[in-house]
Symmetry: C2
Subunit: 136 residues, 2 copies
């Protein structure tokens, strides 16, 4: 999609078109938003939340290898962009739970489709690497 | 999917199961492969190649803001993993063309779906950010 700059004649911007985002344009904010959801830990956290809401510690165990700091930063970014909801549950003791927002619940299956595709194609990827490395 | 370690009794590994990849495991090579395709410049290059094969310079103009070095590194990684084919065309002068492999042509529409989804949801993302920032 092209970012609309408005009509040169009237200077007016069609509100619907004004919001047309284009990740191929370096100035478009959608590029940053895309990076937030495709970041290594964010992508895995969003995919993990597809099953069910999770506490921080549960997510950290599921996303094997993530540090507390990186998971915390990723979740904050996802919460700010509206993909993840953070809720303090008033249980005893109180705990924090993360779950997908409605928008996040639409996004996450697209990430899972990507994850599953790459997982399923790993034998091909390994063959391609061996083939490539034997030629160079 | 769980990475199968083989039968404890027989020590045998079912070849089909042995290759079951799991991006949630830090040891699984699929995590690196996933990062290769979801990296900022790789994702945009793969999506740009959906339209048609492109020369390096064309790709660089399409993926606004990418440096020659980063685009080159990204394409090398995608070529090694078998998503992109690099071909030296014997035109005068000769030039290099990049196109999706059959596996890449299966992968790229999934990336485009993600790109389009995020582009279309930018008004919501902006509202979520404003809402979040006004609360903190």
């Amino acid at each position: 999609m092209e970012r609309t700059q408005g009509s040169a004649e009237t200077g007016e911007v069609d509100p619907a078109e004004a919001f047309a985002a284009d990740v191929f344009s370096r100035a478009c904010t959608s590029r940053g938003a895309l990076e937030h959801v495709t970041g290594k830990w964010s992508l895995l956290a969003l995919t993990a939340l597809l099953d069910a809401p999770h506490r921080f510690g549960e997510l950290r165990r599921r996303v094997d290898g993530v540090s507390e700091k990186m998971l915390s930063q990723s979740l904050q970014g996802l919460e700010r962009d509206g993909w993840v909801h953070r809720e303090v549950r008033s249980s005893i003791p109180p705990h924090v739970e993360y779950r997908l927002t409605p928008a996040g619940a639409e996004l996450a299956p697209r990430l899972l489709a990507l994850v599953t595709f790459v997982e399923d194609h790993m034998p091909e990827v390994h063959r391609a690497r061996e083939d490539h490395d034997s030629r160079s």
